[in-house]
Amino acid sequence: MDNPGVYTLIAQGITTPLSAQAFTPITELDGISAANLACVMLGGSGGTTIDVLAQTSFDDGMTWLDVAHFSFTTSSETKFATLNALASKAVTVYAPLGSEGVNDGLLGNQFRGVITSVDTYANTSIALYLHAK
C-alpha cells in the first residue's frame, strides 16, 4: 500500500461538549488492506460519555462511512479494533454504528475521527490511532 504506518486521527483534550466534531482526515492511504485502530481515553472526570467514531471515505472525503465506534464514560481506558479488507465478504448493507462495534472490511483511502461528548469533562484527552497496513 501507499504510505503504511501509524497515524494520529485524533489527539485532543476534551472539555466542553462536542457534537459529532469531525477532525481533518489522513489521506493518501491507497491500497490499504488492513487497519489496527486504537482509541485511548485519559482522565475522564466531570463528563458523562464520549463516543469516538473512525470513519473512512472512498470518494475523496465527500462521503464518510463508520468503520469503528468506541464508547467511554469516566475512566481511563484503551480500546482497539482490527479491520481486514482481504477476506471475502458477502454483500452487506452499510449501517452507521450507533453503538460500539465495527464495520469490518470497509477500508477506503482516507480516514478521520469524529468525537461526540456529553457534559463538560476536565483533565481528559482522547487519542485515536490508525496503523495502516
Partner: protein
C-alpha cells in the same frame, strides 16, 4: 531552484550530515496529555547561551535546529485536527518539543523558509 529541488537538496544533506531527532506536539494537559511524535533528520547547532541565567549562574543553551518538511509531510504530522485552524498545524510552533540526544527541549520560535510560497525548511530556536 524549485521548491521540490530545494527540499531534495536539504534531505540529501540531512541524510549525510544530520542527526535523528523527534519532533513532538503535546495535546491535552497534565496527566491527560498525549504526545504526537514524528522522527526527523535535523541539523543541530549551538547558537548561544541565553542572557538570563536559569538560576545562580546556570545558563541555558539556545540551539538552532533545521528540519526538512519531508518527514512531517510523510507522517501527516500532527494528524487529524480541528478544521478551520488559521495556521497550518504541520508547521512547528512555540512550545512544541524536540528530543535531541534523548533530551527533551522546548521550541521557542520557528521560521519557515519558503520558496515560491512552499515551505522548504524550518529553522527552530530551541532551549532546554
Amino acid at each position: 531552484m524549485t521548491p521540490e529541488e530545494c527540499i531534495a537538496a536539504l534531505d540529501e544533506a540531512l541524510a549525510n550530515d544530520g542527526q535523528d531527532v523527534v519532533l513532538r506536539r503535546v495535546a491535552g494537559q497534565g496527566t491527560a496529555s498525549i504526545n504526537i511524535d514524528v522522527k526527523c533528520r535535523a541539523f543541530v547547532r549551538p547558537y548561544r547561551l541565553r542572557e538570563d541565567a536559569i538560576v545562580g549562574g546556570i545558563m541555558q543553551a539556545v540551539l538552532m535546529v533545521t528540519l526538512s518538511p519531508t518527514e512531517i509531510a510523510q507522517a501527516q504530522w500532527p494528524g487529524g485536527g480541528l478544521p478551520g485552524q488559521p495556521v497550518d498545524p504541520s508547521i512547528p510552533r512555540r512550545n512544541d518539543k524536540v528530543i535531541i540526544d534523548g533530551r527533551l527541549r522546548n521550541i521557542e520560535a520557528c521560521v519557515p523558509f519558503r520558496v515560491s510560497g512552499v515551505a522548504v525548511r524550518y529553522d527552530l530556536q530551541v532551549t532546554g
